[in-house]
């Protein structure tokens, strides 16, 4: 018995001595060492592109906050980025014309999360559409949600950094947006730094609501879409107005439609070689290889003849009303009269309201409305209004019932303009844009509530 015990112990001793040493080193390096080498290699790929990168980000139509997903419209944004080896990145963005002409510097780093990730770790242009404050992001998703864009991205090509090519695929870590990084050429880089890019925001630079171009033998109209970064494309087919809506992004190469628009004989996916001509206020463009000119128009391709009347009757029959959260856009300026700065009884401006038939005598109400978490009210200065439809154009007569602040007086004056307004039904089938028939340079968007 004891011999067996002794034998067992010696055997185990021998086995201990024979235990094979398992090394966690590969190529003489620990896991952490290899990780840091890989991350440095990813960073090297980004910094070694001589003319920087163009990043195009497509959202999935979902935005996440507090673990809950909200569905909404899709969007696309484009950026120019030049990474340096001091963790700094210089950017341009197509979010608005200011970010298009002013380079912004912020920081980035590459970090091992579940996948190697590129993180824009201080506030930069790429955080702007992510900002939960709707005043900053101008997001249609509402407070607490951006556009469903990201500022933390995983490298999603599943190859080693050395095998990454001129196009790198990324996936957003929070919202799962898809992004591609494309190596920029010298010409593309120059377009950002010399202002060509900023000048290609011709949808903003042409101040008229309607923009027309003769493309491939068709007269094509471009009008503002329901959100920023959306354009409505209109054309005539056998005399009938046809319309398509697409999100777009802008790069140094031109304006790109995320959903190509099929107008029958042709498909339009981009307006390229965009060159702004300030003296004529027009833009030369190239579409499908053919040069054309995009210019402002004061009237729609084909007016929706019943729209002005429908606008009133829809509200009357369903006892609803129209609201605008922004007031009038005039000559390229959003909320030109500053109605968003109005306050009443220390409540902030909430929306401009047009409420058909609600006042005594069946008159319509035109007024700002004030609201916050602590209460809501109409002001003591209401304006009485009456709309008349003549040949598809809406004309207003207004009469303020008390002395009004400047922004309201200016709004009233514009609304009662004797040239009247076109009413343009939007892509969602319920909102309207009310566009000045004088010069189409003033308009207000009405949403139905």
């Amino acid at each position: 018995m004891s011999k067996i015990v002794i034998g067992l112990f010696f055997t185990s001793l021998v086995m201990t001595g024979c235990q094979k040493k398992v090394s966690d080193l590969i190529g003489g390096q620990t896991v952490d060492q290899r990780l840091s080498v890989a991350l440095a290699a990813y960073q090297n790929v980004l910094t070694q592109s001589p003319y920087g990168w163009i990043l195009i980000e497509y959202t999935t139509g979902q935005a996440i906050n507090q673990g809950a997903t909200t569905n909404g419209s899709k969007a696309a944004f484009a950026y120019y980025m030049q990474f340096n080896d001091s963790n700094q990145v210089v950017m341009f963005s197509d979010f608005d014309s200011t970010m298009a002409k002013t380079p912004g510097t912020s920081s980035y780093r590459i970090k091992a999360v579940q996948r190697p990730s590129l993180i824009f770790d201080t506030y930069s242009y790429i955080e702007v559409p992510c900002d939960p404050d709707p005043a900053v992001s101008k997001s249609p998703f509402g407070p607490g949600l951006g556009w469903g864009t990201d500022f933390e991205f995983s490298f999603s090509d599943n190859v080693s950094p050395a095998q990454l090519g001129d196009t790198i695929n990324l996936i957003g870590n929070l919202n799962g947006s898809n992004a591609i990084l494309v190596k920029a050429t010298q010409a593309q880089r120059d377009a950002y730094f010399n202002g060509t890019f900023a000048n290609s925001f011709v949808f903003d630079k042409i101040l008229n609501y309607f923009k027309h171009a003769s493309i491939g033998g068709q007269e094509i109209e471009f009008t503002p879409g329901i959100n920023n970064h959306v354009v409505d494309v209109n054309w005539l087919e056998a005399g009938n107005l046809k319309s398509a809506s697409t999100t777009y992004y802008v790069t140094g190469d031109g304006i790109h439609f995320v959903v190509p628009v099929n107008t029958g004989p042709q498909t339009i996916s981009a307006l390229q070689n965009v060159a702004w001509n300030a003296s004529t206020a027009t833009a030369s463009i190239t579409v499908n290889g053919t040069a054309s000119t995009l210019s402002g128009a004061i009237a729609p391709l084909k007016n929706d003849i019943s729209a002005a009347a429908r606008w009133i009757t829809t509200a009357l029959t369903t006892q609803g009303f129209w609201v605008s959260y922004t007031g009038f856009h005039i000559d390229g300026v959003d909320d030109a009269f500053g109605v968003e700065n109005l306050q009443y009884n220390s409540l902030p401006f909430y929306a401009y309201v047009y409420y058909p038939g609600v006042l005594t005598g069946g008159y319509d109400l035109l007024s700002p409305f004030f609201a916050s978490a602590s209460g809501s009210t109409y002001p003591n200065y209401l304006t009485e209004s009456y709309q008349q439809d003549i040949s598809g154009i809406g004309y207003f007569q207004v009469a303020p019932l008390a002395a009004t602040p400047t922004a309201v007086t200016e709004t009233n004056n514009l609304v009662s303009d004797p040239n009247g307004f076109y009413f343009i039904l939007k892509e969602d089938g319920s909102s309207y844009d009310m566009v000045s028939a004088l010069d189409a340079k003033s308009w207000i968007d009405w949403k139905f509530l």
Binding site: T16, S107, S117, V136, G144, F151
Partner: protein
């Protein structure tokens, strides 16, 4: 068992032990890769943080976004780097300086301040419509939101005041976690509730709570008393009113609300005097002067 067998067994055991104890030679002169977290090329912001907070107070400031550090999955954005130094200067001048002045050195704050400050550019929007503007993690970290909206201007001082309120609130927690306030405080008020957010601040004051959040628990009540008295200053726009002005919403002297809050005030003052040897009213006077003087 025979003695010889015992010896043999011991030897066997010993040698086994030694075999398993055998160590590789490890080079201890170089630290492990990745020790201390992420690194990046330091710039003026990093140097400012090191010189003004890390060196004197042993505090780290995380202004760069770290995945998962703040609530996930939520839509929060990192701060603008250009805002980091102004915000920290505000904190140093208006919430740190008074403590240093009253205690005579940085030792007190160095010992008790939370060791990590996490900055976010935006607020955190909650699903019930409320927002987080500041938060603390168990006395170790303090979260400061809305850094991008910070200014020194009087008319925008609501954000600044909120930051100071957060700072004093969280610091109050740390003090009472080190030395508990008198248990008698817990019996001054009844009616602590988890549904505090259904009550407005003004309603809470009539019930004898300085803010609605004070109604959450005696601990919160205690530190809300501290922060409401230390943050803010006289006059100025809404959101930067002072303690006395808040007290008028109780209904004024003679009401239960007023008397209850005054009773709590006395406990706070006594706690600071006996436990920390700090004259609370003197501290409060310095805090308010510093705050008002700092605004532009």
């Amino acid at each position: 068992m025979r003695p010889i067998l015992k010896i043999a067994l011991s030897i066997a055991l010993l040698s086994m032990l030694m075999a398993s104890c055998k160590k590789d030679t490890v080079d201890l002169t170089t630290p492990p890769v990745g020790l201390g977290g992420d690194t990046w090329v330091m710039d003026s912001t990093d140097y400012f943080i090191y010189d003004s907070l890390t060196e004197p107070y042993n505090i780290a400031v995380d202004y760069k976004w770290t995945p998962g550090q703040l609530d996930f999955p939520s839509d929060i954005v990192p701060p603008k780097e250009s805002q980091v130094i102004p915000v920290l200067k505000g904190l140093l001048n208006v919430s740190f300086a008074p403590y240093n002045q009253i205690t005579g050195s940085t030792t007190f704050l160095r010992q008790y301040l939370p060791k990590t400050y996490e900055l976010a550019g935006s607020a955190e929007y909650l699903s019930n419509g409320a927002m987080f503007l500041g938060q603390a993690e168990g006395g170790t970290a303090m979260l400061i939101y809305e850094v991008n909206n910070y200014t020194r201007l009087k008319q925008d001082s609501a954000t600044f005041k909120q930051m100071m309120h957060t700072m004093h609130h969280e610091f109050g927690h740390i003090l009472n976690q080190n030395k508990l306030y008198p248990t008698s405080f817990k019996t001054i008020s009844t009616g602590y509730t988890g549904n505090w957010y259904n009550v407005t601040d003004a309603q809470a004051r009539q019930l004898g709570f300085i803010t609605s959040y004070a109604q959450a628990s005696p601990d919160e009540d205690f530190v809300e008393m501290i922060s409401s008295m230390l943050a803010g200053g006289p006059g100025g726009p809404k959101g930067y009113d002072e303690y006395e002005e808040l007290l008028t919403q109780t209904g004024g002297p003679g009401t239960t609300g007023y008397a209850t809050i005054k009773q709590k005030e006395a406990v706070v003052v006594d706690y600071f005097q006996t436990v920390w040897n700090i004259d609370f009213y003197a501290l409060r006077a310095i805090c308010r002067t510093d705050f008002v003087n700092y605004l532009q």
